[in-house]
């Protein structure tokens, strides 16, 4: 694992992994969504709106997965001081935020015909909204730290502290009364019929690959920026 902390080794790996994960992610997610729209039958209770879940569920999981990655990468950065871990945490923030926002909007659109309301201030929806605000704050903090030349430790500590919201989101439907249904899938158990579960899992796999591709692209961009800035600074010091 430590070997990949070398930027050169990371770049040589990322150069062929980026198009691979992007292409596989696009094919899998497009296939899963087409399956969900054109093949899956309407649900007995939700009717046609069940099709929204093939988009809503993967984005919800990846919204939480994005912050989990920020927390793990932040911990690695704080303990081992790998600069690539700090870059990885920053790179996960944008796709995490985008997927969290898509989850919130698609959930709201699903809620109107199913629950009869666009929004309720219950535990699951509110904690997911808090996650979106945490992402915005993390992105602003990381950008400010870079601009002001402050240590990346501050956003890393924020990334670790923010992780407290992840188990709250996960357990919110168990701890509090909610319009949101309890977990349908847990470790080794599912209450979802195979006709819905299979395209859902394909969709999760496809969107996870897209998430990975965006993280790789963001890491390459942040690394290239850092390398260009370092070279310019070195030249300016030599010229002075």
């Amino acid at each position: 694992m430590h070997g990949f902390a070398n930027p050169k080794r990371f770049l040589s790996l990322a150069r062929w992994l980026t198009p691979l994960t992007l292409t596989a992610g696009l094919l899998l997610s497009a296939g899963a969504l087409a399956w969900g729209v054109f093949v899956v039958p309407p649900d007995r209770l939700m009717g046609e709106t069940v099709r929204i879940l093939f988009l809503h569920v993967p984005t919800a999981w990846l919204g939480m997965g994005g912050w989990s990655m920020i927390a793990i990468a932040s911990l690695v950065y704080l303990v081992w001081r790998h600069p690539l871990a700090a870059l990885g945490a920053r790179a996960a923030a944008v796709p995490g935020l985008v997927f969290t926002l898509i989850c919130l909007v698609t959930g709201s659109i699903w809620g109107r015909p199913t629950w009869g309301t666009w929004w309720v201030w219950d535990g699951r929806l509110t904690s997911m909204l808090v996650l979106a605000f945490l992402y915005v704050a993390y992105i602003a903090l990381a950008q400010a730290a870079e601009r002001e030349g402050v240590s990346a430790r501050i956003p890393a500590i924020f990334g670790l502290l923010g992780a407290i919201n992840i188990p709250i989101i996960n357990r919110s439907v168990v701890w509090w009364n909610s319009l949101h249904q309890p977990p349908s899938i847990s470790m080794g158990r599912s209450s979802i019929d195979a006709a819905f579960l299979t395209p859902l899992l394909v969709s999760v796999a496809g969107f996870s690959l897209l998430f990975g591709a965006v993280v790789l692209m963001r890491m390459r961009a942040l690394l290239a920026d850092a390398q260009a800035e370092a070279r310019l600074r070195r030249r300016a010091m030599e010229a002075a």
């Binding site: 015909p113 965006v214 290239a224």
Partner: protein, 46 residues
């Protein structure tokens, strides 16, 4: 009188939001990566 809801309108709206958001993020990330790597290569050459 209650409004009649066509469930497909909600499905189409949700997919439009999801697809536009995801594709915009991928295109923006790709362009930002290409721009940053081009700039780094130019700085190296200079």
């Amino acid at each position: 009188m209650r409004e009649a809801l066509d469930q497909w309108d909600f499905v189409i709206a949700a997919y439009a939001v999801g697809l536009v958001g995801t594709i915009a993020m991928i295109v923006w990330s790709w362009l930002a990566m290409r721009r940053a790597e081009r700039r780094r290569d130019e700085v190296r050459r200079r």
